[in-house]
Symmetry: C6
Subunit: 78 residues, 6 copies
């Protein structure tokens, strides 16, 4: 790909918080890879956005991507 238009040019970030934000982006990409129709996603948001089980599971998925991003950045150790 032309890395110019890539959504994931690199796993490296400046800070853990940016790493967390990248993990959130990857978690969402994992959803839109399966369901690309934004209207469908918007329509189902009320279901999961107030369902504790879904909210907990989303946090778990972010944790999995974050673990990989943290390793890529050597855990941002000074």
């Amino acid at each position: 790909q032309d890395s110019g238009d890539s959504w994931l040019p690199s796993l490296l970030t400046e800070t853990p918080q940016e790493g967390f934000d990248l993990a959130v982006t990857m978690a969402r990409k994992g959803v839109t890879t399966t369901q690309g129709d934004k209207d469908v996603l918007f329509a189902v948001r009320p279901n999961y956005a107030s369902d504790p089980q879904s909210l907990i599971d989303v946090s778990g998925v972010i944790a999995m991507y974050f673990a990989t991003v943290a390793q890529a950045n050597d855990h941002w150790e000074e």
Copy 2:
């Protein structure tokens, strides 16, 4: 970001217990990233806070973040 107002300036903590507390903070952040409305979260608390399945899953999500925090701190080995 100005690391002054960052919620996750670093993964480093003094002790495993502080590492566990940080993992709890990250697990909660993983929820509020999806559902930022505190009122909604407060309203659904009775559902998950006495549902064994949700309580077990929350502990699992904390475990995932804790694994990453522990690696960042070399497991706090003396």
Copy 3:
């Protein structure tokens, strides 16, 4: 196998995004290994493609394969 017709000749990719795409391919392969009948898979798509819980879980499965692909590529560190 003759690596010519192998669907998984290597875990190495040029970029993280290609690594993510490979993880998606592996996640799907994990499904078709159990259910090889494309018609069945096509028939059940409406169920999971608009079910938040399934969409979140798919993203989690992609995250697991991506973690392995990222390690294989040393996290594409320059």
Copy 4:
């Protein structure tokens, strides 16, 4: 913290079995962090303590904490 009253002063244990016990403690702490009311936890015990799905999930959560404790102890290799 004064490590005297810390529930998690260290991840180091003498044996794998003590490491497993520590993982069980951490898994439970992950629950009580969300639901601190022992009466509530006691009231819901009958639900999960005879529900195979919950019992399996608890074992999985213990496995996640155990993986981290094992790494902290270099897998107790002689």
Copy 5:
């Protein structure tokens, strides 16, 4: 054991695809360890083989075994 009749003599494989196949074998073994009765497994196949949630979860379990097999093979790096 006499490794002659062992179903898991080694984690080493020639290629990533053979590693994936081994992970599938291990995932299935994890099921038959609990339920050894092939007739029961055959009887319940229609339930899970067209249930998206089960198919996604199976792929996730394969991913966990594959991660371990990939590490054992140093990710088949040339």
Copy 6:
């Protein structure tokens, strides 16, 4: 503990298959740690032993323990 009566004196095994068997033992221990009453466990067996979702989840829990056992044994590399 007196390692004589310990159920988990070590994570080391001769072969991957013995490592898998140990992982199964640990997965079961993770259940009996929560529910020690064998009669209860025996009574609920019909529920999970023919429930695909439970069988898949059990395999996933075994995979988590196996990953740790494999690391402890350097993946039994010759």
